[in-house]
């Protein structure tokens, strides 16, 4: 029903700046799509175009098969949750939630029913008479969600809704947003710069950079097979190690003197082609000296994270980080021998940064 389709959507500002350079994808009914990317990548602009708060320079946005380019935000059947909540400071929580319905001429008892229902779902029934300034950040966030829910829209739009909350509350609200969206079955588009939020919430992840889409896919796929160097370093924490290397043969890259097998490497690459090898800190395994394919890693210092430890050091003369469960490696270790599952070796073109994988 509420499928959202974007085709070649562009945004060019008056000064000629291209904020969004032709983006196409679609979100199935009930899907949770997260747009993720660094600041200025155009993700918020894209969301605002879907909302109708920015005009669309070219291309089309359609919601449930209806092109909405020229339709007012109020008539697009969407609801939006803003980063700073954008609650009306002079209205009570109840009025904040009821305002949009009143403007639509919804009957009074229907408004009351819906607001009470939303308040019950969000556990803010006791706050209905309060003003926004009397609420904590988390409560304001709930009210903002309530304002979206009562509308019963076809699409929820979230513009970095959790970035004003403290870390603990953010995790909690993240779970609640996901649960709520599942329960209501409403299509959602969610903008964030936080890759953890992006991974956990989405069932369709759109990674953006410089106004363009770098990769679209389910989170696991984006994580396992990043389409470019940018995606590889952006998704995953701590970020993927990137090391300059060269092709040594089919499925083999040379990392300095050491050879590394990469199972997903594209065929027919000339030996000596300059590439970059990407290894995730969490994919590194401890090997023993002399084991086939083991690489020497010189540890410089260790960061304690509790359950895991981060080992910072040098591999083949390059800065390198590996992650290991606490206790797996002796704390005084100075030189480690490591290996990587050939399925988890990522190879990118040295120039373009595009993944050199099998099709």
């Amino acid at each position: 029903m509420a499928q959202v389709t974007l085709s070649s959507v562009k945004k060019v500002y008056a000064g000629g700046v291209e904020a969004v350079k032709g983006v196409s994808f679609d979100i199935p009914d009930g899907g949770f799509c997260v747009l993720v990317g660094p600041s200025g990548c155009g993700k918020s602009t894209l969301l605002r175009m879907v909302a109708g708060l920015e005009t669309i320079s070219s291309g089309e946005v359609s919601i449930s098969g209806r092109v909405v380019n020229q339709i007012e935000p109020a008539d697009r059947d969407i609801a939006m949750v803003f980063q700073n909540y954008a609650l009306y400071p002079h209205m009570s929580v109840y009025d904040n939630m009821a305002y949009g319905l009143r403007n639509r001429g919804t009957p009074k008892d229907e408004i009351e029913k819906r607001v009470k229902e939303a308040a019950r779902i969000l556990a803010i029934e006791g706050l209905l008479e309060r003003r926004p300034r009397q609420l904590s950040g988390g409560q304001r966030q709930r009210v903002a969600m309530g304002r979206a829910i009562v509308r019963k829209p076809q699409v929820f739009l979230f513009d970095e809704p959790l970035s004003n909350l403290d870390a603990k509350l953010r995790v909690q609200m993240r779970v609640e947003i996901k649960k709520l969206q599942r329960a209501l079955g409403v299509t959602a588009i969610y903008v964030t710069h936080d890759q953890v939020e992006a991974m956990t919430l989405s069932d369709k992840l759109v990674v953006m950079n410089g106004g363009q889409v770098e990769q679209i896919g389910v989170p696991a796929e984006v994580y396992r097979k990043p389409a470019s160097r940018f995606v590889a370093t952006f998704i995953g924490s701590p970020p993927m190690n990137l090391l300059p290397a060269a092709i040594d043969g089919p499925g083999i890259v040379a990392l300095g003197d050491a050879l590394l097998e990469a199972r997903d490497l594209k065929q027919n690459l000339a030996s000596g082609t300059k590439v970059e090898v990407g290894l995730r800190p969490e994919d590194i395994e401890i090997a023993s000296e002399g084991q086939a394919g083991a690489l020497p890693f010189d540890v410089e210092f260790i960061e304690e994270l509790g359950a895991t430890q981060l080992f910072h050091g040098k591999l083949a003369g390059q800065p390198f980080v590996m992650q290991a469960a606490t206790g797996d490696v002796a704390a005084e270790a100075r030189r480690l021998w490591i290996s990587v599952d050939p399925d988890r070796v990522h190879v990118f073109d040295a120039q373009s940064g595009i993944r050199l994988g099998r099709e």
């Binding site: 009306y88 305002y99 403007n103 304002r147």
Partner: protein, 282 residues
């Protein structure tokens, strides 16, 4: 330390008391003078305590007028001043809220030019443009009318500037949330901008009411009939009488009466007023 602090308190109180006395003594003297008869004041021996003629003097000045045959009672003058001050305050608020809303929230050709033209009128208060303004008002036949008293004083940029600065602090997200909530420009204005501006509006009301109430030069020019004169003009006319003794007790009573409405307005709106001038929380 305790001794020191107490000593500091005492000094502070002494200084404040002196300040209050300096401000309050003339007011007290005015009040005292308004409660004696003319003879006591004229002989130069005004007591420092109120006399027995309070009700007599105030009744006479409010409802009868001074002895000069053409003088109106002060009640009429107060009414005139009141109408004028209210018209100026409300008119100015209305015009400046609307113009500031247009300048901040609408994109139209020459928007900034319009704003700068409004801004430049700050340099042209009534006193500077008094002759052309008088000419316009008289050609429009507005001499001796309330609109002639109020309209030229309504036109000024201070309110527009104040509201423009205030509106720019209202987050854009509120406008966007309103759009999504289905509120058009007028609804956004009525439901969000005006309620948020209430304290600013109250502050401007206080300032403009007092400004209007205290006007002297303009009412002096555009009112010729006694029945249209304002209380401030009335006081001056009472004091300069060519052919009779100035009835000081009545002039002082009028001065007391002239002071009251601004005081009431300030007291009534004090809390909103202060909030409007210092409020930063949005």
């Amino acid at each position: 330390m305790v001794e020191n602090r107490r000593f500091g308190d005492i000094v502070a109180y002494i200084i404040l008391t002196i300040g209050v006395l300096i401000v309050a003594f003339p007011v007290w003297l005015t009040f005292v003078a308004s409660t004696w008869d003319a003879a006591t004041i004229i002989n130069g021996q005004l007591p420092l305590y109120p006399g027995p003629h309070f009700f007599e003097n105030y009744y006479r000045i409010l409802f009868v007028g001074t002895s000069g045959s053409t003088r109106e009672p002060v009640a009429v003058m107060m009414f005139n001043s009141f109408v004028m001050a209210l018209a100026i305050a409300f008119g100015k608020i209305l015009i400046s809220v609307l113009s500031a809303y247009a300048v901040v929230y609408y994109r139209f050709p020459f928007r900034m030019a319009a704003f700068w033209i409004i801004f430049v009128t700050l340099m042209l208060p009534v006193e500077v443009r008094i002759f052309p303004t008088f000419k316009v008002v008289s050609d429009l036949g507005m001499l001796d009318t309330y609109q002639g008293l109020a309209v030229p004083l309504i036109a000024s940029a201070t309110g527009t500037l104040l509201f423009r600065q205030f509106f720019m602090t209202i987050p854009d997200e509120l406008l966007e949330a309103s759009k999504i909530d289905g509120a058009g420009p007028f609804k956004f204005f009525k439901d969000t901008v005006v309620p948020l501006s209430l304290t600013t509006i109250a502050a401007l009301f206080v300032i403009q009411f007092i400004y209007g109430w205290n006007q002297y030069l303009w009412p002096l020019l555009v009112t010729t009939k006694d029945s249209m004169q304002t209380i401030v003009i009335g006081i001056r006319k009472m004091i300069t009488t060519a052919d009779a003794l100035t009835e000081w007790q009545l002039a002082m009573a009028t001065a007391m009466l002239a002071m009251l409405p601004p005081v009431f307005v300030v007291i009534a709106m004090q809390r909103l007023f202060v909030k409007g001038l210092v409020e930063t929380e949005k």
